[in-house]
Symmetry: C2
Subunit: 488 residues, 2 copies
């Protein structure tokens, strides 16, 4: 499948505009920015991104800066809730100082990344413009440049969904602006019940804002019911969570000293100083005009890909058009986008570089997909709930281990948090794991590892040591409980 | 091998004293207290313990209560060190309140455990006396009772080592008393550089005491050199650590208002209010008089056992004498003692209960053995250092991942902490792992799991997802670094 790489000087003219030719055009400089690997050094690659910042959502407004804010917020939150542990005191996190520290670091990384992409490697060029599809291999930029790629990688991500009743503006912001506020508002209302909304609610609460979270349906509705109930109880003791509340009318004065007024379907009327709309994200396929190229997409605009990350058109995979990340999967998780980028990069190599025709494309088969919510309480989860597993016809069983049933839980004086495991009763395979409590995101990993490598629960706890009395004993006991429920 | 269980009424008289017969006598109610399993319900079992508290060191003075103190101490410590994160405030942990909370819980558990052992199961009785061996199957108690067992389990643990120059007393305490102090001393000097000494130094420092740690050789001398150096630097910024300092003379006034005066080999003279001697632990074999029974032991008094946990005499395993825990292994770790107790219980079943003669004894082959030091900074480790692996003739390589090289490390603004992995370069087997930093004890587990189940580093990081940006990305990157260094 190897062909000669497009040379620097190879240009064609179409309809009066010179078409710049590339071997690979990558749209989106988030995880897509990792595509130009050493193995592809012989290819002429364009990275296209018109983002407000270079490097994608995760780096600039998502996973990374939120956690940098959440850590100081937690130090404050932990102290607020420590009297029963014998600890007293007061602490506060300085919003402006944290913001300066976080973006002093993040923006430098983003800028250095942009500079490197612009001039760091001879085979890579950067197109810092919005693009739209002309056909499956051709893009036109906002300034009228035409770019054609032997292969395209669509990794343009997603953007915060705007609500009709609450259009974005100076006082109705999205997560893109949520960390860059000059000052922390006294009162903030967060619209949404997903991971992003819940993390920001916890974050603002930690910094001392009065938070109200309005959720049209239920908080974290895709997660296990017990996890959700515990989250609502624990988080609800910190900030005001209102499920089944939909904003039906909003009055948003330009004058920032006048309160915003929100009217809910329930009749509730709220006054607030700032609104964060975190009510889902929209794949950016519409901004790229992918419909012109005829790519298959879900109703919400997500591109449909095959196991090799190739985009489908009329149900058939296009050989040289790949997609990855939020625009191509439902997870909206950076670790998933990164993995897909590795699959795409390898398949680009096999398609454009490999000298043998015998190299099959690699498939993306990695599972399970864990997610973490870095709120307080923290949540981590992967796979099926018991209900989902049984609905799928599996003879599944669920076991639970409370933090409070372990020595570490005693140290925490924990009364609320737990881990659950869903297993195939016959085989002992781990089908799902659901944890709420301190360190959930890291406690999940031995279970991810076991599930990914098909290690059944039988023998798993007793086949390794678990240092006493670390928090991992929660997982050890969970696995022992599971083994008890499994046959053979 | 099954025989009829000794009946309640079966007594024999020797040398005038009635000998009480048991199927199993367990000496030590720490991990040994778990020996009476449902599988052994048909056996007449005596649990013997003369400990100050019922349930062993871990529950009453060790692993569990220390962590219950360390958690509030850390909340305070974290806040002291949070200005660079944008968090300011003050906090303090109330020693008396924490002590009351911890021992209110622990002592109840201990007392309930004792009551259950005394009267909770018809086949188990409790002997709350000191015992000494008469012969390999016979014990005499302090009050003159003679106990004989068809099988014996020696799990009598270890005790703090006393120093000649600093005999234990009201102002020179061991770890047994270190958490039960009425009030926290203003100044405390800790003698020792091991895990116990280092955890207590961190704990007292967190509560606000002025801590000096005197170490005859080096702190945590069995650990990786980089880990040790980082610990000394990080801990040394919190409290006064003096390595290569041996106390050669001590003046200890009875009057608690007069300072204790310690003179070191270096010429240093210290004044302090309390001394904690945490300078190693001594197996309790001497208190049992095991030499009368002729059991093989190490120079330090540790009993020698075979792979089935059977005690050796003149190099030969005794068929019905088992040992476990600190008296029989060098680790002094609760999770090891618990595992050995499970091996012993199963071998008792096979020896005394099983109806088939064909059941071979089970062996204790579980590895690797992880340890954790719950100080701040926290340490977790298992297996070989690079030096140890190379000294063993293995083509080993070491890789390192700094916390600061991951997004979670950015959130922590971490500049000091890291994980190291020692791997067999040819096979990719994990030979050792060494972590210093927040959450080290739980971050270690995926590596323990991989090592225990012989999963090589090749494919390990990329064969599973690691939720971004959790701290586990430190381990993911460590494994990727390792894979780069391995052949094939």
């Amino acid at each position: 499948m190897s062909e000669t790489a497009a040379s620097e000087t190879e240009l064609s003219f179409e309809a009066g505009a010179p078409t710049e030719l590339f071997d690979v055009i990558v749209i989106g400089a988030g995880s897509g920015n990792s595509i130009p690997s050493p193995e592809l050094a012989g290819l002429k690659i364009a990275i296209v991104d018109d983002g407000r910042w270079f490097g994608g959502t995760c780096l600039n407004a998502g996973c990374i800066p939120t956690k940098m804010f959440i850590h100081p917020a937690r130090l404050v939150s932990h102290l607020r809730d420590a009297a029963h542990l014998g600890v007293t005191g007061t602490a506060s996190a300085d919003w402006a100082a944290v913001r300066a520290r976080v973006f002093g670091r993040i923006d430098s990384i983003s800028q250095a990344g942009e500079q490197y992409r612009a001039s760091g490697e001879p085979n890579v060029s950067l197109v810092r413009e919005r693009v739209r599809f002309v056909d499956e291999s051709t893009l036109v930029t906002a300034s009228g440049r035409r770019l054609r790629g032997r292969a395209l990688v669509i990794g343009a991500g997603s953007r915060p969904r705007e609500l009709r009743v609450l259009p974005f503006g100076p006082r109705v912001i999205s997560s893109d602006d949520a960390l860059r506020l000059e000052t922390l508002p006294e009162r903030i209302t967060i619209i949404g019940g997903g991971v992003v909304a819940s993390e920001f609610a916890s974050l603002y609460h930690g910094f001392g804002a009065k938070v109200t979270q309005l959720v049209r349906s239920t908080v974290l509705s895709s997660l296990d019911a017990d996890i959700r109930a515990t989250f609502v109880a624990q988080a609800g003791a910190q900030w005001d969570i209102r499920e089944h509340h939909d904003v039906v009318d909003a009055t948003i004065p330009d004058d920032a000293t006048s309160p915003i007024r929100l009217v809910c379907n329930t009749g509730d009327v709220l006054e607030t100083d700032l609104v964060l709309v975190a009510s889902g994200r929209v794949p950016n396929s519409d901004r790229l005009g992918t419909e012109v190229a005829g790519f298959d997409q879900e109703l919400n605009g997500r591109l449909v890909v095959d196991a090799h990350q190739r985009v489908l058109r009329a149900g058939q995979a296009l050989p040289n058009v790949f997609a990855m990340g939020d625009i191509a999967n439902p997870h909206q998780l950076k670790h998933v986008a990164n993995h897909e980028a590795r699959v795409v990069a390898e398949n680009l190599r096999r398609t454009l570089v490999a000298t043998s025709d015998n190299e099959e494309l690699v498939s993306n088969t990695l599972s399970p997909v864990p997610l973490a919510v870095f709120s307080t309480p923290e949540i981590a989860s992967f796979g099926a709930t018991l209900t989902e597993a049984r609905d799928a016809g599996i003879d599944a069983v669920e076991v639970r281990q409370d933090y409070g049933g372990t020595a570490w839980g005693w140290a925490l004086e924990d009364q609320h948090h737990f881990a659950k495991l869903v297993v195939d009763r016959v085989q002992g395979q781990i089908l799902g794991a659901h944890i709420i409590g301190p360190d959930a995101a890291i406690l999940l990993q031995p279970l991810v590892q076991a599930a990914a490598f098909n290690m059944p629960v039988q023998g798993l706890a007793r086949g390794q040591y678990w240092p006493h009395p670390a928090a991992t004993e929660i997982i050890e006991n969970l696995l022992l409980n599971a083994k008890e429920e499994c046959n053979a």
